[in-house]
Amino acid sequence: MDKNLNTSSERKLNCSDESKCFELLESILDGEETTASKEILDEKLAKCQPCFEHYHLEKVIREVLKNKCTKHMVPAELADTIRQKIQEIK
């Protein structure tokens, strides 16, 4: 549980420019937004409830995808088969 959720009363409940804000937040989460300073992000999250919620939902979705989409084990013989085939075409 995010402890910051308790302070939501201090945030405005409507975002004046959701479309632009959400796009920015998603870019930041994807590591694409290097120019947006941390202060801008912190300020948005501190002052705007929709931005805060969107950011944290998007963040947790990226985390579960990364951590819970288990990697399928590579069949043990695959690398050897590939090397063998390469030898054949050399």
Binding site: E26, L57, I61
Partner: protein
């Protein structure tokens, strides 16, 4: 595949590139192939074909550049050109997903979601994985490349041969579709997703 870089690597150099720059990505390649084909044998064939092509065209690979992105591009193209055609299931457009997207009130970034962070956190790996697998292949692909493999938008644009703007919007749409799936799972788990 870029024909610009026409280097002539010696056999020793070829082997070195293959062993040190190509083979270390076999886990990611297999995972990508499996999530595209949903079949172990097809995934194995696809990865094998990709590596054989990579070796055959190794002279067009510029050493020191992103080998993983280069390999993923070959794999994606092989999948589209060969596997999609001969796939056991006829390739079909998932009209439901297309509809979900086009009929939604907002297709831009202002689409709000009533899915809760805690509900997502409580989901099992299988549920997340099934939600991802249920997406149409183009949407599934961008999520795999971005979230599972950590490619940048620019790398994804090159792998998929689409503009960066399309990467951005496709990714956003893909995540919205994924959220719809997760929301329905959350409802089944007893989370009240309608509550503000």
């Amino acid at each position: 595949m870029s024909e610009v870089q026409r280097k002539k690597y010696s056999d020793k150099e070829k082997n070195s590139i293959f062993d040190h720059e190509f083979m270390p990505h076999i886990d990611s390649m297999y995972n990508f192939a499996y999530r595209l084909t949903f079949d172990e044998d097809d995934a194995k064939d696809l990865v094998q074909d990709t590596y054989l092509k990579a070796y055959r065209f190794i002279n067009s690979f510029e050493q020191g550049t992103n080998a993983k992105a280069w390999l993923f591009r070959i794999l994606k193209n092989s999948f589209i050109n060969e596997y999609r055609k001969k796939s056991k299931q006829p390739s079909k457009v998932d009209y439901q997903e297309v509809e979900t997207y086009y009929n939604s009130d907002n297709v831009d970034y202002s689409m709000t979601s009533d899915l809760r962070v805690d509900a997502v956190k409580d989901m099992l790996g299988d549920e997340i994985s099934n939600a991802l697998n249920s997406l149409a292949v183009d949407f599934r692909t961008v999520i795999i490349l971005c979230d599972l493999e950590g490619f940048t938008y620019e790398e994804m644009a090159k792998i998929l041969d689409i503009p960066i703007g399309t990467v951005r919007s496709r990714l956003h749409r893909a995540r919205n579709l994924l959220k719809d799936k997760l929301r329905s799972y959350a409802e089944n788990m007893g989370y009240d997703t309608d509550e503000e």
